[in-house]
């Protein structure tokens, strides 16, 4: 399992502040850059970073390494915070899926998800700069859904198959959660 996943599990299960500090050191500076790309200044960006990291600490019980990478989980928290702040409305969120926090994570599942994510990252790294730029814009919320509709065909090509892989796996997992 990756360092990040282990830190997050330590935060979730043991309220481990040293592990939280390690997560902060990695994610907070990246989150700040990420949020500032949305067009807000340094000071306000740090407010968002603080709120996001505090949510990571407070909602750690919701983290399920079999279903989400630490970075995916934090990405969604950051998007939620940013939208709530910019639009002054609560972003509609899907119902949380139930999971048993007591049970040991299935290390095989966790590692498989991590491997697929690194394949996805390699696919990202192989994109041409302008394709990469488009993907970043889309996932930073800088494109409208009409723009995404017109762009996805172009830059998502190689990445689509990776998403499909992840999708199949996630679908399997979801099925086993729904039908134990």
């Amino acid at each position: 399992m990756s360092e990040q996943t282990l830190w997050m599990i330590a935060v979730r299960d043991n309220r481990d502040k040293a592990a939280f500090a390690a997560l902060f050191d990695f994610f907070a500076p990246r989150l700040k850059h990420f949020v500032m790309r949305g067009g807000i200044g340094s000071g306000q960006a740090e407010e968002v970073v603080q709120e996001v990291m505090l949510t990571v600490w407070r909602k750690a019980a919701m983290f399920d390494p079999e279903r989400a990478q630490v970075s995916s989980w934090i990405y969604q928290i950051a998007r939620n915070r940013q939208i709530d702040k910019m639009r002054r409305e609560n972003r509609p969120l899907p119902e949380a899926l139930a999971h048993e926090p007591e049970s040991e994570p299935d290390a095989g599942q966790v590692v498989a998800l991590e491997q697929e994510t690194s394949q996805l990252k390699r696919a990202l790294a192989r994109l041409k700069p302008e394709q990469r730029e488009m993907i970043e814009k889309a996932y930073l919320g800088e494109l409208t859904h009409q723009q995404i509709k017109h762009q996805t065909g172009l830059p998502l090509g190689t990445i689509k198959s990776r998403i499909r892989l992840g999708l199949d796996r996630l679908r399997h997992e979801l099925k086993s959660i729904r039908e134990p």
Binding site: P29, S71, R79, N80, I148, G166
Partner: protein, 211 residues
């Protein structure tokens, strides 16, 4: 759980994951995700991509006291946000939009009723109640409309829609949905423009009904 055959199209799902979707549509997507494992898995894949981009972002220097300030906050007590659970036909996100209360229906005529969940510049979201076998007045759209079935079913020129199914309509679709026999149909509908009803309610009254 029944089989869902009409899903959220990929670009709309990507826009939702990226936070680029207007509130009324985001409500429909969040509700569909609560009912559909396929789309939830697909959404999960979009989150993975978003997370990968976050990890790849160049770090930005932080103010020196940001970390210590945050570490001090960890032990402060806090109110957990309210969690709205599914109630009857209404999944969690709809219950959140209803603020946990049952819908307060307003008559639209012909037995059709509606409850406005949100209305603003970004468009509107509402619940529609259509008695079994009843037609919703023929209408076109000025913009995008997403309709998600929560109870019963309806059919129109585009096919049959059951619980969990989403119909995507734009200004090219002129359709006449008819609720299936057997059960009254309840839908969650989101539009980014007022509907154009071609009958039943005079155009002048539309601003009053906000439809």
């Amino acid at each position: 759980m029944n089989t869902i055959t009409h899903h959220i199209p990929e670009p709309i799902l990507a826009a939702y994951a990226a936070g680029a979707l207007e509130h009324p549509f985001a409500l429909v997507v969040a509700t569909h995700l609560s009912l559909c494992d396929d789309c939830r898995a697909s959404f999960g894949a979009h989150e993975v991509l978003g997370g990968a981009l976050l990890e790849d972002t160049a770090p930005e220097a932080l103010s020196p006291d940001l970390k210590s300030g945050l570490m001090e906050l960890l032990d402060t007590p806090f109110e957990p946000e309210p969690v709205f659970r599914r109630s009857g036909a209404y999944p969690g996100p709809v219950m959140a939009a209803l603020k946990g209360r049952p819908p307060r229906w307003k008559r639209l005529g012909g037995g059709v009723r509606q409850t406005i969940l949100s209305a603003g510049e970004a468009g509107s979201a509402r619940l529609l109640y259509i008695p079994a076998g009843q037609a919703v007045p023929d209408h076109g759209h000025n913009g995008l409309e997403l309709t998600l079935v929560l109870q019963g079913s309806f059919s129109d020129e585009a096919g049959q829609f059951r619980v969990g199914d989403v119909e995507i309509a734009d200004d090219t679709l002129e359709h006449t949905p008819v609720a299936g026999a057997g059960a009254d149909c309840i839908c969650l509908a989101a539009t980014d423009a007022p509907l154009r009803f071609s009958s039943l309610i005079p155009r002048l009254l539309q601003p009053i009904f906000r439809i």
